[in-house]
Subunit: 127 residues, 2 copies
C-alpha cells in the first residue's frame, strides 16, 4: 500500500537491508543480535553520510529487510559491490557464543533507495 | 573475558536488550527485522536521553542480547516495568507480512547497565 502510494506521488521508497549468512547454523536469538548489530551500525553510518535518506526513511516507517546468503565468499562478494554505492557495514562476531571469534556474519546497508539496491540484491531470497 | 576484566577494574558492563514474543510463530527473517526495529529505536532514544551510556557501550563492543517472552500480556508487563527505569521502546508491526497489523512484537532497551537490568529480566530465557 505504502509503495503503491509512493509510486503514485513520485516518491522513492527507502529501506535498510541486512544480508546474513545462512550457513552458520546460528539460532534465532543469535541471528536477531547479529542483524541488530548490522541495522544499528548501518543506521549510524548512513546518518553521518546521508542524513536526508535517514529522515525520509524514518518518516515513512523505517522499513527493514533481511536477505540470506549461503557462504562467507558470497557475503564478501556482496559487501564489495554494495560498499561502492552505499553506506555499508560488515559485522564480525566477537565469538562469545555459538560461533568462532572473528566470523563474518552479516552486512548492513542504508537506509537506501529501494530502486537502487534492488537490482544488486535481486537474486537473494528473504531469510 | 570482557566482563571479568570490567569487574576487576570496577567498570560496569552495558548492553542493549530486546524482549521478543515467542508465541507469534514469526520466521527467522521476521524476528531479525522486528528485533532490528527495537535495537535501532532503543539506540536513538538512549542516544538522546543518556549519550554517555551509548559512548561507553560503543567503546566496549556494543553487546546485544535477545530474550523471549511468551505472550502479549507478558511483553506489556515487562514494558511497564522497564520503561520506568530505562529508555525503552515498544515495537508494533505494520503487518505487511506474516502477522496482523498493529501486533506488539517486541521491546528494545538501552544500552543500559547490566547490573541494573539483569535483576528485572532474570527470569527470562535467551531466544
Amino acid at each position: 500500500m505504502k509503495k503503491i502510494l509512493f509510486r503514485l506521488i513520485g516518491m522513492e521508497n527507502y529501506k535498510q537491508v541486512v544480508l546474513i549468512r545462512n550457513d552458520l547454523n546460528m539460532g534465532k536469538g543469535k541471528i536477531a543480535a547479529q542483524a541488530g548489530h548490522a541495522f544499528v551500525e548501518a543506521y549510524k553510518k548512513t546518518k553521518m553520510k546521508n542524513p536526508d535518506a535517514v529522515d525520509i526513511w524514518e518518516k515513512t516507517g523505517g522499513e527493514k529487510v533481511v536477505l540470506k546468503v549461503s557462504s562467507e565468499s558470497e557475503l564478501i562478494k556482496y559487501y564489495d559491490r554494495l560498499k561502492r554505492k552505499f553506506p555499508t557495514v560488515l559485522i564480525t562476531d566477537a565469538g562469545h557464543t555459538q560461533i568462532k571469534s572473528g566470523t563474518k556474519t552479516c552486512i548492513g546497508v542504508g537506509p537506501v533507495k529501494e530502486s537502487e539496491i534492488d537490482p544488486i540484491t535481486s537474486e537473494l531470497k528473504l531469510l
